[in-house]
């Protein structure tokens, strides 16, 4: 009897190809995605580089030497590196705020002593520590080159004690989250919200397949209702549900975790309306692509999880390599998260949201058009 149960279950599994794929291939696929994100793929040399910008306020030989030394670090990538014009502290700060650079290294000196300020985007919790370490080392080396007695080394261990070295200081200034009550939570809220928005939209789109399977679609289309009206109606409904879903999540975030929703209401509403409508289009597109609800469940699980992994809903994109970050831009999540990031984290004016809003609006429209084209086959045999 037990053997028959096992045998029957195995036979059923092999008859259901989608379930077979979900059971064995999807874990491998997701393992591969996360291996590429965290392990840099097969080659560990492909590590994510931290985008930095240097501001030399000291303008002396030592500061130039420190910057030159940092340029040789493989884990740093200097932005605006080719510009002849020097970047000011405020300009560098603005670049960090806009996400052009993750960190600005500002070298300033008084009385021949160089200190450094790191204008940091604290959302990248790894970058701050890495750059601080690299900068400290570069400054120490510079100090050592200028006055070998100023740093302890093996030779100095047996030499007579020298005057107390003037150790350079590196001060990390969080220019993004300094005034926020709970700065990082808003980013995670956006990540989770967008992922569940996609799950919700694909699940809602599945109602169309249920209607088709139960012949309710036949009945609906035999009334005065047209396929255009049906799809647009469902699109509005799914968009509305998505807007309420995300709003509730951020309201909860404000009440419990201190996310500052009220101060960012304009940007939040713009992003949420556009993201929800695009997700609704995506859900309908995926639904019309499938033949059955079961197929949709399998496909949406794969697509939404893959997009969420690559797009930054599960893992912050700053830990990804350059190539993966670029690949992430093909996902829905990356654009939506960049938009929410601009609203809640970078606190940019809503006019700065135009790239994200444009991409999401366009993709939503394209998804809806594809859904309409695919639904033609259900209209009339």
């Amino acid at each position: 009897m037990i053997w028959t149960v096992i045998f029957t279950s195995v036979r059923r599994l092999f008859h259901n190809r989608l379930e077979l794929i979900l059971t064995f291939l999807v874990p491998i696929a997701f393992f591969s995605i996360f291996a590429v994100i965290f392990g840099g793929g097969q080659s560990s040399s492909i590590i994510p580089k931290i985008k930095v910008i240097a501001v030399d306020e000291a303008t002396n030989a030592d500061s130039a030497k420190i910057i030159e030394s940092l340029r040789e670090c493989p884990s740093l990538r200097f932005v605006r590196d080719r510009d002849d014009e020097a970047v000011s502290r405020s300009a560098a700060s603005e670049m960090v705020r806009r996400g052009i650079a993750t960190m600005a290294i500002v070298l300033h000196g008084e009385n021949n002593r160089i200190n450094a300020d790191l204008l940091a985007d604290a959302s990248d919790q790894v970058a701050g520590q890495v750059v601080t370490a690299l900068l400290s080392r570069a400054m120490a080396m510079s100090l050592h080159d200028r006055d070998p007695n100023n740093l302890p080394d093996s030779h100095h261990m047996i030499a007579p004690p020298s005057p107390i070295p003037t150790v350079p200081t590196v001060t990390v200034l969080d220019i993004m989250g300094e005034n926020k009550t709970n700065p990082v939570v808003s980013m995670y809220a956006a990540g989770i919200a967008v992922m569940f928005l996609l799950f919700g939209a694909t699940g809602g789109g599945g109602a169309l397949l249920e209607e088709r399977e139960s012949q309710t679609l036949d009945r609906l289309l035999s009334t005065r209702l047209t396929m255009d009206q049906l799809l647009v109606g469902k699109w509005f409904y799914l968009s509305g549900v998505g807007i309420v879903q995300v709003t509730l999540m951020f309201v909860w975030g404000q009440i419990v975790f201190g996310v500052d929703l009220l101060s960012h209401m304009d940007g939040f509403l713009m992003m949420t309306v556009v993201t929800s409508s695009a997700a609704a289009g995506f859900g309908l597109c995926l639904a019309t692509l499938c033949k059955s609800r079961g197929q949709l469940n399998g496909l949406s699980l794969i697509v939404v999880l893959a997009m969420s992994a690559l797009g930054g809903s599960m893992v912050p994109r700053y830990v990804m390599s350059e190539n993966l970050r670029e690949a992430g831009l093909w996902t829905f999540n990356a654009w939506a998260l960049d938009g929410y990031d601009k609203v809640f984290w970078r606190e940019l004016p809503v006019s700065e949201l135009w790239p994200q809003l444009t991409v999401l609006l366009l993709s939503g429209a394209i998804f809806l058009v594809i859904a309409r084209i695919l639904a033609v086959r259900w209209e009339c045999d």
């Binding site: 139960s214 609906l220 035999s222 009334t223 045999d381």
Partner: protein, 309 residues
């Protein structure tokens, strides 16, 4: 409704081949056929859900493709094509709205439909919680919210108990008496025989017979009755058939069998002599069964006994 030389193929499969018939005003017509005969394709063509390759469909003289003509049709699919997670009233309201009903007219039709289906006291309950028969009644009601002049039903009584079937046909009779023409497909041949005015039998996409039940009987198996006599012991040898007028049926019964079967044209005059003959040969009669021609016999005569799926 006039259907003229309707043809539809799916790839190499011919679903409909020159199907022609009419459904008169206020008429009840049964569309019969084995599985895969083309009934559902025909219903889908008539409801505008499938585009025929050629041929024409006219309702009250207007082609079905003309705007507004489809409003004269009501469709009741084979599946329970309603929202199971809505209440009866919500389903009726939704489909009424899809058919263009609004405000008072909609309210009146919902009240009528609840009374018609006998579900007034279940109006606020989810359809998903209903029995099969109740779901079928809601399914039916959603197709007639707009008072169509022609109602198309694809197996409206499949999977329901005799009581529910009776109720559904009473509902259809009520609609029909108000002037609605009814075209239904069914595998319940007794229902088709008893509850419809005319019958169209399709097989392999073609109309193989159409007419009233009497016409079909006359055109196929004739009016003779099948008589079965169960005797008290196996037949030792075939008996002479004194009721036959032809030499071909000069004997009756098969050696070794304990029953005798034959057709007779006049039960009143021929059955007594038949019983006498059996007695005269020393056999006792345990039971006598007389079967009048049924649609079942006509159907099998026209479509054969081979399995179709």
């Amino acid at each position: 409704m006039e259907i003229h030389e309707l043809c539809k193929s799916f790839g190499d499969l011919t679903a409909l081949a020159n199907v022609t018939f009419t459904l008169g005003a206020g008429e009840r017509l049964a569309l019969l056929g084995p599985n895969g005969a083309g009934k559902t394709t025909l219903i889908r063509c008539l409801s505008g859900r499938t585009r025929p390759d050629s041929g024409s469909i006219h309702v009250e003289g207007a082609p079905i493709s003309l705007a507004g003509v489809r409003d004269m049709l009501g469709l009741v699919p084979q599946e329970i094509a309603v929202y199971r997670d809505l209440t009866t009233r919500e389903n009726l309201s939704a489909f009424g709205r899809f058919y263009g009903l609004r405000r008072r007219e909609l309210r009146d039709r919902i009240d009528w439909a609840l009374q018609w289906t006998g579900l007034q006291d279940r109006a606020g309950e989810l359809v998903g919680t209903f029995s099969g028969g109740m779901k079928r009644r809601v399914n039916l009601a959603c197709g007639v919210m707009h008072s169509p002049s022609v109602l198309l039903l694809d197996e409206p009584t499949v999977g329901v108990d005799p009581q529910s079937r009776e109720r559904i046909f009473s509902m259809l009779d009520e609609l029909n008496s108000d002037g609605t023409s009814i075209l239904l497909t069914t595998h319940h041949l007794d229902e088709a025989q008893a509850r419809t005015d005319r019958i169209v039998i399709v097989d392999k996409g073609r109309v193989v017979a159409k007419g009233t039940f009497s016409q079909l009987v006359d055109e196929t198996i004739g009016r003779s009755r099948m008589v079965t006599l169960r005797i008290d012991r196996p037949l030792a040898a075939p008996l002479p058939n004194l009721t036959s007028t032809t030499s071909r049926d000069s004997t009756m019964g098969i050696c070794g069998e304990q029953s005798i079967q034959l057709r007779i044209d006049d039960v009143a005059s021929q059955l007594p002599s038949l019983i006498t003959t059996v007695h005269d040969f020393g056999y006792g009669i345990a039971d006598v069964q007389v079967d009048s021609p049924s649609l079942h016999h006509v159907f099998l005569h026209l479509t054969g006994r081979e399995l179709r799926d």
